[in-house]
Protein backbone atom coordinates (compact mmCIF):
# COMPACT_ATOMS: atom_id res chain seq x y z
CA UNK A 1 0.00 0.00 0.00
CA UNK A 2 1.32 3.46 -0.95
CA UNK A 3 0.82 6.20 1.62
CA UNK A 4 1.23 9.93 1.37
CA UNK A 5 2.18 12.05 4.36
CA UNK A 6 0.55 15.44 4.88
CA UNK A 7 2.13 17.89 7.32
CA UNK A 8 1.36 21.42 8.41
CA UNK A 9 3.55 23.30 10.89
CA UNK A 10 2.65 25.91 13.47
CA UNK A 11 5.87 27.67 14.35
CA UNK A 12 6.14 29.87 17.42
CA UNK A 13 8.87 32.49 17.14
CA UNK A 14 9.53 34.67 20.19
CA UNK A 15 9.90 38.23 18.98
CA UNK A 16 13.12 39.93 20.02
CA UNK A 17 11.55 42.95 21.69
CA UNK A 18 13.04 44.47 24.82
CA UNK A 19 9.77 44.57 26.71
CA UNK A 20 6.78 42.27 26.72
CA UNK A 21 3.90 42.41 24.27
CA UNK A 22 1.40 43.97 26.69
CA UNK A 23 3.56 45.24 29.55
CA UNK A 24 6.79 47.10 30.25
CA UNK A 25 8.51 44.11 31.91
CA UNK A 26 11.80 42.91 30.37
CA UNK A 27 11.95 39.79 28.19
CA UNK A 28 15.55 38.75 28.90
CA UNK A 29 16.04 35.00 29.32
CA UNK A 30 17.34 33.29 32.43
CA UNK A 31 16.40 35.69 35.24
CA UNK A 32 15.51 34.48 38.74
CA UNK A 33 11.96 33.06 38.78
CA UNK A 34 9.16 35.64 38.73
CA UNK A 35 11.49 38.65 38.87
CA UNK A 36 10.47 39.67 35.36
CA UNK A 37 6.74 39.22 35.85
CA UNK A 38 5.09 42.57 36.51
CA UNK A 39 1.55 43.26 37.70
CA UNK A 40 0.19 42.96 34.15
CA UNK A 41 2.02 39.69 33.45
CA UNK A 42 0.73 38.24 36.72
CA UNK A 43 -2.83 39.17 35.80
CA UNK A 44 -3.34 41.01 39.10
CA UNK A 45 -6.88 42.31 39.65
CA UNK A 46 -7.44 45.58 37.76
CA UNK A 47 -4.46 45.52 35.38
CA UNK A 48 -4.80 46.20 31.67
CA UNK A 49 -2.76 45.40 28.53
CA UNK A 50 -1.21 47.99 26.20
CA UNK A 51 0.24 46.73 22.91
CA UNK A 52 3.99 46.98 22.19
CA UNK A 53 4.44 48.77 18.84
CA UNK A 54 7.72 47.00 18.13
CA UNK A 55 6.02 43.60 18.19
CA UNK A 56 3.60 44.89 15.56
CA UNK A 57 6.47 46.23 13.45
CA UNK A 58 8.22 42.84 13.61
CA UNK A 59 5.07 40.98 12.58
CA UNK A 60 4.65 43.32 9.62
CA UNK A 61 8.29 42.77 8.65
CA UNK A 62 7.72 39.04 8.58
CA UNK A 63 4.50 39.46 6.63
CA UNK A 64 6.24 41.50 3.95
CA UNK A 65 9.15 39.03 3.79
CA UNK A 66 6.80 36.14 2.94
CA UNK A 67 4.81 38.19 0.44
CA UNK A 68 1.80 38.06 2.72
CA UNK A 69 -1.16 40.41 3.17
CA UNK A 70 -0.89 42.86 6.06
CA UNK A 71 -4.33 43.32 7.59
CA UNK A 72 -5.41 46.96 7.66
CA UNK A 73 -7.44 46.02 10.71
CA UNK A 74 -6.81 43.07 12.95
CA UNK A 75 -8.32 41.98 16.25
CA UNK A 76 -6.96 40.61 19.48
CA UNK A 77 -9.07 37.87 20.98
CA UNK A 78 -9.02 35.96 24.20
CA UNK A 79 -8.42 32.22 24.15
CA UNK A 80 -9.94 31.00 27.40
CA UNK A 81 -8.59 27.98 29.25
CA UNK A 82 -7.30 27.20 32.69
CA UNK A 83 -3.70 26.23 33.33
CA UNK A 84 -1.51 27.14 36.31
CA UNK A 85 1.08 28.92 34.17
CA UNK A 86 -1.56 30.92 32.27
CA UNK A 87 -2.06 33.84 34.68
CA UNK A 88 -5.29 35.43 33.44
CA UNK A 89 -7.09 32.22 32.57
CA UNK A 90 -6.90 33.32 28.95
CA UNK A 91 -4.22 33.95 26.39
CA UNK A 92 -4.41 37.11 24.31
CA UNK A 93 -4.07 35.97 20.72
CA UNK A 94 -5.51 36.68 17.31
CA UNK A 95 -8.28 34.54 15.91
CA UNK A 96 -10.62 35.85 13.19
CA UNK A 97 -8.42 38.60 11.83
CA UNK A 98 -4.66 37.91 12.12
CA UNK A 99 -2.13 40.62 11.32
CA UNK A 100 -0.59 38.61 8.44
CA UNK A 101 -2.27 36.22 6.04
CA UNK A 102 -1.60 34.36 2.79
CA UNK A 103 2.16 34.32 2.32
CA UNK A 104 4.51 31.71 0.95
CA UNK A 105 8.06 30.47 0.99
CA UNK A 106 10.18 28.30 -1.33
CA UNK A 107 12.12 25.35 -0.03
CA UNK A 108 14.78 23.23 -1.74
CA UNK A 109 14.61 19.48 -1.18
CA UNK A 110 16.74 16.99 -3.18
CA UNK A 111 17.54 19.71 -5.69
CA UNK A 112 13.88 20.51 -6.29
CA UNK A 113 12.27 23.77 -5.38
CA UNK A 114 8.79 23.72 -3.84
CA UNK A 115 6.47 26.50 -2.74
CA UNK A 116 4.93 26.18 0.73
CA UNK A 117 1.87 28.28 1.55
CA UNK A 118 1.70 30.19 4.81
CA UNK A 119 -1.90 30.53 5.92
CA UNK A 120 -1.37 33.18 8.55
CA UNK A 121 0.97 34.70 11.11
CA UNK A 122 -0.50 36.23 14.22
CA UNK A 123 0.65 37.96 17.39
CA UNK A 124 0.04 36.45 20.79
CA UNK A 125 1.48 36.31 24.28
CA UNK A 126 3.50 33.41 25.66
CA UNK A 127 2.54 31.64 28.89
CA UNK A 128 4.81 31.03 31.88
CA UNK A 129 6.60 27.81 32.74
CA UNK A 130 5.62 24.96 35.00
CA UNK A 131 8.64 23.44 36.70
CA UNK A 132 7.98 19.82 37.47
CA UNK A 133 11.10 19.18 39.52
CA UNK A 134 10.21 18.38 43.03
CA UNK A 135 9.12 21.25 45.21
CA UNK A 136 7.88 19.20 48.16
CA UNK A 137 5.75 17.19 45.76
CA UNK A 138 4.35 20.36 44.14
CA UNK A 139 4.82 22.07 40.79
CA UNK A 140 6.53 25.47 40.72
CA UNK A 141 5.25 28.25 38.47
CA UNK A 142 7.63 30.80 36.96
CA UNK A 143 5.89 33.58 35.06
CA UNK A 144 8.96 35.38 33.69
CA UNK A 145 8.09 34.17 30.20
CA UNK A 146 4.42 35.13 30.54
CA UNK A 147 3.64 37.97 28.15
CA UNK A 148 6.66 37.46 25.89
CA UNK A 149 5.57 38.31 22.34
CA UNK A 150 5.15 35.38 19.98
CA UNK A 151 4.56 35.28 16.27
CA UNK A 152 2.67 32.10 15.44
CA UNK A 153 3.34 31.14 11.84
CA UNK A 154 0.87 28.62 10.44
CA UNK A 155 1.68 26.78 7.21
CA UNK A 156 -0.73 25.25 4.78
CA UNK A 157 -0.76 21.42 4.84
CA UNK A 158 1.67 21.54 1.91
CA UNK A 159 4.54 19.53 3.38
CA UNK A 160 4.82 15.91 2.25
CA UNK A 161 7.68 14.51 4.31
CA UNK A 162 9.63 15.06 7.50
CA UNK A 163 12.49 16.19 5.28
CA UNK A 164 10.33 18.92 3.73
CA UNK A 165 9.05 19.93 7.14
CA UNK A 166 12.59 20.38 8.41
CA UNK A 167 13.63 22.28 5.28
CA UNK A 168 10.65 24.61 5.73
CA UNK A 169 11.32 25.11 9.42
CA UNK A 170 14.98 25.86 8.72
CA UNK A 171 13.96 28.35 6.07
CA UNK A 172 11.64 30.16 8.50
CA UNK A 173 14.36 30.00 11.13
CA UNK A 174 16.84 31.65 8.76
CA UNK A 175 14.25 34.23 7.72
CA UNK A 176 13.32 35.39 11.21
CA UNK A 177 17.00 35.72 12.03
CA UNK A 178 17.66 37.61 8.79
CA UNK A 179 14.89 39.97 9.78
CA UNK A 180 16.32 40.18 13.30
CA UNK A 181 12.89 39.63 14.77
CA UNK A 182 13.78 36.44 16.66
CA UNK A 183 17.06 35.16 18.08
CA UNK A 184 16.15 31.65 16.90
CA UNK A 185 17.56 30.07 20.05
CA UNK A 186 15.85 26.69 20.13
CA UNK A 187 17.38 25.52 23.41
CA UNK A 188 15.85 28.48 25.19
CA UNK A 189 12.54 27.89 23.44
CA UNK A 190 12.65 31.05 21.33
CA UNK A 191 11.79 29.05 18.24
CA UNK A 192 9.61 25.95 18.49
CA UNK A 193 6.84 24.26 16.59
CA UNK A 194 3.79 22.04 16.65
CA UNK A 195 3.35 19.62 13.76
CA UNK A 196 0.00 18.50 12.38
CA UNK A 197 0.57 15.11 10.82
CA UNK A 198 -1.75 12.85 8.84
CA UNK A 199 -1.44 10.15 6.20
CA UNK A 200 -3.66 9.16 3.31
CA UNK A 201 -3.66 6.59 0.56
CA UNK A 202 -2.03 7.84 -2.61
CA UNK A 203 -5.26 7.78 -4.62
CA UNK A 204 -7.24 9.48 -1.85
CA UNK A 205 -8.23 13.15 -2.24
CA UNK A 206 -9.33 14.16 1.21
CA UNK A 207 -6.90 14.47 4.10
CA UNK A 208 -6.66 11.80 6.77
CA UNK A 209 -7.38 12.49 10.45
CA UNK A 210 -4.48 14.40 11.92
CA UNK A 211 -2.60 14.29 15.17
CA UNK A 212 -0.95 17.40 16.55
CA UNK A 213 2.51 16.90 18.01
CA UNK A 214 3.25 19.68 20.51
CA UNK A 215 6.35 21.62 21.41
CA UNK A 216 9.12 20.37 19.14
CA UNK A 217 12.20 22.43 19.88
CA UNK A 218 14.88 21.07 17.56
CA UNK A 219 15.09 20.25 13.87
CA UNK A 220 16.13 16.71 14.77
CA UNK A 221 13.10 16.22 16.99
CA UNK A 222 10.80 17.51 14.27
CA UNK A 223 12.18 14.96 11.85
CA UNK A 224 12.11 12.05 14.29
CA UNK A 225 8.71 12.88 15.75
CA UNK A 226 7.11 13.15 12.31
CA UNK A 227 8.71 9.95 11.07
CA UNK A 228 7.59 8.09 14.17
CA UNK A 229 4.09 9.50 13.91
CA UNK A 230 3.78 8.64 10.22
CA UNK A 231 4.82 5.05 10.84
CA UNK A 232 2.46 4.81 13.80
CA UNK A 233 -0.48 6.06 11.77
CA UNK A 234 0.26 3.81 8.78
CA UNK A 235 0.65 0.76 11.01
CA UNK A 236 -2.61 1.65 12.72
CA UNK A 237 -4.51 2.06 9.45
CA UNK A 238 -3.04 -1.02 7.85
CA UNK A 239 -4.12 -3.03 10.86
CA UNK A 240 -7.66 -1.80 10.22
CA UNK A 241 -7.65 0.80 13.00
CA UNK A 242 -8.28 4.50 12.75
CA UNK A 243 -6.38 7.63 13.74
CA UNK A 244 -7.88 9.72 16.52
CA UNK A 245 -7.69 13.49 16.28
CA UNK A 246 -5.67 14.38 19.36
CA UNK A 247 -2.69 16.20 20.78
CA UNK A 248 0.46 14.14 21.23
CA UNK A 249 3.74 14.79 22.96
CA UNK A 250 7.13 13.79 21.59
CA UNK A 251 9.29 11.94 24.10
CA UNK A 252 12.84 12.60 22.95
CA UNK A 253 14.33 9.96 25.23
CA UNK A 254 12.15 7.18 23.88
CA UNK A 255 11.95 8.63 20.38
CA UNK A 256 8.17 8.25 20.27
CA UNK A 257 5.00 10.32 20.43
CA UNK A 258 2.31 9.63 23.01
CA UNK A 259 -1.20 10.85 23.58
CA UNK A 260 -1.89 13.64 26.07
CA UNK A 261 -4.77 13.01 28.44
CA UNK A 262 -8.09 13.33 26.74
CA UNK A 263 -9.66 15.56 29.40
CA UNK A 264 -7.51 18.46 28.17
CA UNK A 265 -8.97 17.81 24.77
CA UNK A 266 -12.47 18.65 25.91
CA UNK A 267 -11.37 22.29 25.86
CA UNK A 268 -13.64 24.84 24.31
CA UNK A 269 -11.58 28.01 24.06
CA UNK A 270 -14.50 30.44 23.83
CA UNK A 271 -12.61 32.95 21.70
CA UNK A 272 -14.05 36.45 21.74
CA UNK A 273 -12.62 39.93 21.00
CA UNK A 274 -10.59 41.20 23.96
CA UNK A 275 -12.59 44.17 25.30
CA UNK A 276 -9.41 45.63 26.86
CA UNK A 277 -7.75 46.04 23.46
CA UNK A 278 -9.06 48.02 20.50
CA UNK A 279 -8.72 46.98 16.85
CA UNK A 280 -5.14 47.17 15.57
CA UNK A 281 -5.08 49.41 12.51
CA UNK A 282 -2.05 49.34 10.25
CA UNK A 283 -2.00 52.03 7.59
CA UNK A 284 -0.10 52.05 4.28
CA UNK A 285 2.42 54.58 5.62
CA UNK A 286 3.44 52.22 8.41
CA UNK A 287 3.72 49.31 5.98
CA UNK A 288 5.85 51.38 3.60
CA UNK A 289 8.09 52.47 6.42
CA UNK A 290 8.65 48.85 7.47
CA UNK A 291 9.18 47.81 3.86
CA UNK A 292 11.93 50.41 3.64
CA UNK A 293 13.66 48.81 6.61
CA UNK A 294 13.63 45.27 5.22
CA UNK A 295 17.08 43.77 4.75
CA UNK A 296 17.98 41.80 1.60
CA UNK A 297 16.13 38.50 2.03
CA UNK A 298 17.75 35.04 1.73
CA UNK A 299 16.43 34.17 -1.75
CA UNK A 300 17.36 37.54 -3.22
CA UNK A 301 20.78 37.36 -1.64
CA UNK A 302 21.33 33.88 -3.05
CA UNK A 303 20.52 35.07 -6.58
CA UNK A 304 22.81 38.05 -6.14
CA UNK A 305 25.66 35.82 -4.91
CA UNK A 306 25.25 33.64 -7.99
CA UNK A 307 25.32 36.63 -10.32
CA UNK A 308 27.85 38.81 -8.56
CA UNK A 309 30.35 36.18 -7.42
CA UNK A 310 29.81 33.51 -10.04
CA UNK A 311 28.85 30.95 -7.44
CA UNK A 312 26.87 27.82 -8.19
CA UNK A 313 23.39 27.21 -6.76
CA UNK A 314 24.65 25.00 -3.95
CA UNK A 315 27.43 27.31 -2.79
CA UNK A 316 25.18 30.34 -2.93
CA UNK A 317 22.51 28.54 -0.93
CA UNK A 318 24.95 27.47 1.78
CA UNK A 319 26.53 30.90 2.05
CA UNK A 320 23.17 32.65 2.36
CA UNK A 321 21.63 30.16 4.77
CA UNK A 322 22.19 32.60 7.59
CA UNK A 323 22.65 36.33 7.53
CA UNK A 324 25.83 35.94 9.59
CA UNK A 325 27.43 33.53 7.09
CA UNK A 326 26.51 35.76 4.17
CA UNK A 327 27.88 38.84 5.91
CA UNK A 328 31.07 36.93 6.74
CA UNK A 329 31.47 35.80 3.17
CA UNK A 330 31.05 39.27 1.75
CA UNK A 331 33.47 40.69 4.30
CA UNK A 332 36.10 38.12 3.25
CA UNK A 333 35.58 38.74 -0.46
CA UNK A 334 35.73 42.49 0.05
CA UNK A 335 38.89 42.43 2.15
CA UNK A 336 40.77 39.74 0.24
CA UNK A 337 40.05 41.10 -3.21
CA UNK A 338 40.64 37.63 -4.61
CA UNK A 339 38.69 34.88 -6.33
CA UNK A 340 35.21 34.70 -4.76
CA UNK A 341 35.16 30.96 -5.43
CA UNK A 342 38.36 30.51 -3.38
CA UNK A 343 36.72 32.48 -0.52
CA UNK A 344 33.61 30.30 -0.76
CA UNK A 345 35.64 27.10 -0.65
CA UNK A 346 37.52 28.17 2.44
CA UNK A 347 34.38 29.21 4.33
CA UNK A 348 32.45 26.09 3.38
CA UNK A 349 35.50 23.86 3.89
CA UNK A 350 38.10 24.57 6.55
CA UNK A 351 36.23 27.28 8.44
CA UNK A 352 32.95 25.38 8.54
CA UNK A 353 34.74 22.19 9.70
CA UNK A 354 36.55 24.09 12.45
CA UNK A 355 33.31 25.76 13.58
CA UNK A 356 31.57 22.40 13.71
CA UNK A 357 34.40 20.81 15.67
CA UNK A 358 34.41 23.63 18.19
CA UNK A 359 30.62 23.94 18.21
CA UNK A 360 30.63 27.70 17.72
CA UNK A 361 28.62 29.94 15.45
CA UNK A 362 30.23 31.93 12.66
CA UNK A 363 29.75 35.23 14.51
CA UNK A 364 31.88 33.81 17.35
CA UNK A 365 34.74 32.53 15.16
CA UNK A 366 38.29 33.24 16.36
CA UNK A 367 39.36 33.61 12.72
CA UNK A 368 37.67 36.84 11.75
CA UNK A 369 36.69 37.65 8.19
CA UNK A 370 39.54 40.12 7.99
CA UNK A 371 42.08 37.51 9.08
CA UNK A 372 40.78 34.83 6.76
CA UNK A 373 41.05 37.39 3.96
CA UNK A 374 44.68 37.98 5.00
CA UNK A 375 45.38 34.28 4.63
CA UNK A 376 43.66 34.02 1.24
CA UNK A 377 45.69 36.97 -0.02
CA UNK A 378 48.87 35.06 0.75
CA UNK A 379 47.61 32.15 -1.33
CA UNK A 380 46.63 34.49 -4.15
CA UNK A 381 50.01 36.20 -4.24
CA UNK A 382 51.77 32.82 -3.99
CA UNK A 383 53.41 33.59 -0.68
CA UNK A 384 52.21 30.22 0.49
CA UNK A 385 50.66 27.21 -1.17
CA UNK A 386 47.16 26.00 -0.52
CA UNK A 387 48.54 23.10 1.44
CA UNK A 388 50.64 25.28 3.72
CA UNK A 389 47.63 27.59 4.06
CA UNK A 390 45.76 24.78 5.78
CA UNK A 391 48.49 24.55 8.40
CA UNK A 392 48.48 28.30 8.81
CA UNK A 393 44.69 28.30 9.21
CA UNK A 394 44.89 25.71 12.01
CA UNK A 395 47.49 27.86 13.77
CA UNK A 396 45.36 30.98 13.29
CA UNK A 397 42.39 29.18 14.88
CA UNK A 398 44.50 27.93 17.81
CA UNK A 399 46.62 30.99 18.46
CA UNK A 400 44.43 33.81 17.27
CA UNK A 401 47.27 35.33 15.24
CA UNK A 402 47.27 36.81 11.73
CA UNK A 403 48.41 34.74 8.76
CA UNK A 404 51.34 37.05 8.05
CA UNK A 405 52.65 36.81 11.60
CA UNK A 406 52.49 33.02 11.52
CA UNK A 407 54.08 32.72 8.07
CA UNK A 408 56.90 34.95 9.19
CA UNK A 409 57.35 33.32 12.56
CA UNK A 410 57.37 29.76 11.23
CA UNK A 411 59.26 30.54 8.02
CA UNK A 412 56.50 29.18 5.83
CA UNK A 413 56.97 31.59 2.97
CA UNK A 414 56.85 29.81 -0.38
CA UNK A 415 60.06 29.56 -2.42
CA UNK A 416 59.36 31.25 -5.73
CA UNK A 417 62.93 32.06 -6.64
CA UNK A 418 63.56 30.01 -9.80
CA UNK A 419 67.32 29.93 -9.18
CA UNK A 420 66.89 28.51 -5.71
CA UNK A 421 64.51 25.81 -6.96
CA UNK A 422 66.85 24.99 -9.86
CA UNK A 423 69.77 24.52 -7.47
CA UNK A 424 67.74 22.10 -5.38
CA UNK A 425 66.68 20.16 -8.50
CA UNK A 426 70.27 19.93 -9.63
CA UNK A 427 71.23 18.47 -6.27
CA UNK A 428 68.42 15.88 -6.45
CA UNK A 429 69.35 14.86 -10.02
CA UNK A 430 72.95 14.45 -8.96
CA UNK A 431 72.02 12.37 -5.91
CA UNK A 432 69.69 9.97 -7.76
CA UNK A 433 71.34 8.94 -11.04
CA UNK A 434 69.54 5.58 -11.24
CA UNK A 435 66.05 7.11 -11.01
CA UNK A 436 67.07 9.74 -13.56
CA UNK A 437 68.08 7.16 -16.10
CA UNK A 438 64.95 5.08 -15.51
CA UNK A 439 62.82 8.18 -15.96
CA UNK A 440 64.57 9.16 -19.10
CA UNK A 441 64.10 5.56 -20.34
CA UNK A 442 60.35 6.18 -20.17
CA UNK A 443 59.30 5.39 -16.61
CA UNK A 444 57.38 8.64 -16.34
CA UNK A 445 55.63 7.91 -13.09
CA UNK A 446 58.94 8.51 -11.36
CA UNK A 447 58.23 12.21 -11.88
CA UNK A 448 56.30 12.20 -8.58
CA UNK A 449 59.36 10.83 -6.83
CA UNK A 450 61.37 13.88 -7.88
CA UNK A 451 58.60 16.29 -6.79
CA UNK A 452 58.47 14.56 -3.41
CA UNK A 453 62.22 14.83 -2.98
CA UNK A 454 62.13 18.53 -3.84
CA UNK A 455 59.23 19.23 -1.43
CA UNK A 456 61.04 17.31 1.26
CA UNK A 457 64.13 19.41 0.71
CA UNK A 458 62.14 22.66 0.87
CA UNK A 459 59.74 21.48 3.64
CA UNK A 460 56.88 21.88 1.22
CA UNK A 461 57.54 25.51 0.50
CA UNK A 462 58.56 25.27 -3.15
CA UNK A 463 56.02 26.84 -5.46
CA UNK A 464 54.40 23.75 -7.03
CA UNK A 465 53.91 25.22 -10.52
CA UNK A 466 57.47 26.47 -10.77
CA UNK A 467 58.86 23.22 -9.41
CA UNK A 468 56.95 21.14 -11.95
CA UNK A 469 58.05 23.27 -14.84
CA UNK A 470 61.72 23.33 -13.85
CA UNK A 471 61.81 19.59 -13.12
CA UNK A 472 60.37 18.74 -16.54
CA UNK A 473 62.90 21.00 -18.16
CA UNK A 474 65.92 19.62 -16.33
CA UNK A 475 64.95 15.98 -16.63
Amino acid sequence: MEWETVIGLEIHAQLATRSKIFSGAPTAYGAEPNTQACAVDLGLPGVLPVLNGEAVRMAVKFGLAIGGTIAARSIFSRKNYFYPDLPKGYQISQYDLPVVSRGHLNILVDGEEKTIGITRAHLEEDAGKSLHEDFHGLTGIDLNRAGTPLLEIVSEPDLRSAQEAVAYMKKIHALVRYLRICDGNMQEGSFRCDANVSVRRMEQNEFGTRAEIKNLNSFRFVERAINFEVERQIALLEAGGRVVQETRLYDADKGETRSMRSKEEANDYRYFPDPDLLPLEIGPAFVDEVRGQLPELPDAKKERFKAQYGLGEYDAAVLTATRETADYYEAVVGAAGCDPKLCANWIMGDLSAALNRAGVEIDQTPVTAERLAGLLQRIADSTISGKIAKQVFEAMWEKGATADALIEQQGLKQITDGGEIATIIDQIIAANPEQVSQYRAGKERLFGFFVGQAMKATRGKANPQQLNALLKQKL
Partner: protein, 95 residues
Protein backbone atom coordinates in the same frame (compact mmCIF):
# COMPACT_ATOMS: atom_id res chain seq x y z
CA UNK B 1 -34.05 27.25 25.67
CA UNK B 2 -33.92 24.88 28.58
CA UNK B 3 -30.71 23.57 30.07
CA UNK B 4 -30.32 20.20 31.72
CA UNK B 5 -28.35 19.60 34.89
CA UNK B 6 -25.84 17.80 32.68
CA UNK B 7 -25.37 21.00 30.64
CA UNK B 8 -24.78 22.94 33.83
CA UNK B 9 -22.19 20.39 34.97
CA UNK B 10 -20.40 20.76 31.66
CA UNK B 11 -20.41 24.59 31.80
CA UNK B 12 -19.28 24.51 35.41
CA UNK B 13 -16.35 22.32 34.39
CA UNK B 14 -15.42 24.70 31.56
CA UNK B 15 -15.59 27.61 34.01
CA UNK B 16 -13.80 25.58 36.71
CA UNK B 17 -16.50 26.25 39.27
CA UNK B 18 -17.28 23.61 41.86
CA UNK B 19 -21.03 23.65 42.40
CA UNK B 20 -22.58 21.85 45.31
CA UNK B 21 -24.65 19.02 43.82
CA UNK B 22 -27.63 20.13 45.90
CA UNK B 23 -27.57 23.50 44.09
CA UNK B 24 -27.29 22.23 40.52
CA UNK B 25 -31.05 22.11 40.06
CA UNK B 26 -31.45 25.70 41.22
CA UNK B 27 -28.67 26.88 38.93
CA UNK B 28 -30.21 24.95 36.06
CA UNK B 29 -33.55 26.68 36.65
CA UNK B 30 -32.00 30.16 37.00
CA UNK B 31 -29.77 29.80 33.98
CA UNK B 32 -32.61 28.44 31.84
CA UNK B 33 -34.73 31.39 32.95
CA UNK B 34 -32.02 33.89 31.99
CA UNK B 35 -31.50 32.20 28.62
CA UNK B 36 -35.25 32.25 27.96
CA UNK B 37 -35.26 35.92 28.84
CA UNK B 38 -32.43 36.81 26.44
CA UNK B 39 -34.15 34.81 23.68
CA UNK B 40 -36.08 38.02 22.84
CA UNK B 41 -32.98 39.15 20.98
CA UNK B 42 -33.74 36.63 18.27
CA UNK B 43 -36.83 38.57 17.21
CA UNK B 44 -34.59 41.24 15.70
CA UNK B 45 -33.16 40.87 12.24
CA UNK B 46 -29.47 41.75 12.33
CA UNK B 47 -28.24 40.30 9.07
CA UNK B 48 -26.48 43.48 7.97
CA UNK B 49 -25.47 44.89 11.33
CA UNK B 50 -21.79 45.13 12.27
CA UNK B 51 -21.22 43.73 15.75
CA UNK B 52 -20.14 46.33 18.32
CA UNK B 53 -17.39 45.11 20.62
CA UNK B 54 -16.34 48.51 21.96
CA UNK B 55 -18.18 51.74 22.68
CA UNK B 56 -15.36 53.74 21.08
CA UNK B 57 -14.27 53.86 17.44
CA UNK B 58 -10.62 54.43 18.26
CA UNK B 59 -7.88 52.10 17.04
CA UNK B 60 -5.46 50.42 19.41
CA UNK B 61 -2.70 52.70 20.68
CA UNK B 62 0.87 51.36 20.47
CA UNK B 63 3.34 51.49 23.33
CA UNK B 64 7.04 52.18 22.70
CA UNK B 65 9.26 49.14 23.32
CA UNK B 66 10.75 50.35 26.58
CA UNK B 67 11.29 48.44 29.80
CA UNK B 68 9.41 50.32 32.50
CA UNK B 69 8.77 47.58 35.07
CA UNK B 70 11.34 46.18 37.44
CA UNK B 71 11.45 43.35 39.91
CA UNK B 72 8.75 43.57 42.59
CA UNK B 73 8.55 39.86 43.30
CA UNK B 74 8.62 40.22 47.04
CA UNK B 75 5.74 42.68 47.03
CA UNK B 76 3.67 40.68 44.55
CA UNK B 77 4.25 37.37 46.31
CA UNK B 78 3.23 38.83 49.66
CA UNK B 79 -0.39 38.22 48.61
CA UNK B 80 0.26 34.75 47.14
CA UNK B 81 -1.23 31.70 48.86
CA UNK B 82 1.86 29.46 48.53
CA UNK B 83 5.36 30.28 47.29
CA UNK B 84 8.82 28.83 47.66
CA UNK B 85 12.14 29.96 46.21
CA UNK B 86 10.32 32.64 44.24
CA UNK B 87 7.95 30.15 42.59
CA UNK B 88 4.18 29.96 42.93
CA UNK B 89 3.35 26.44 44.05
CA UNK B 90 0.43 24.33 42.88
CA UNK B 91 -0.39 20.63 43.23
CA UNK B 92 1.71 18.49 40.91
CA UNK B 93 0.79 19.03 37.27
CA UNK B 94 1.06 15.83 35.26
CA UNK B 95 2.34 16.29 31.72
Amino acid sequence: MSLTTKDVDKIAWLARLAIDQSHVTAYTRDLSGILDFVEQMNAVSTAHVTPMAHPTDQPQRLRPDIVTEFDQRQLFQACAPLVDAGLYLVPKVLE
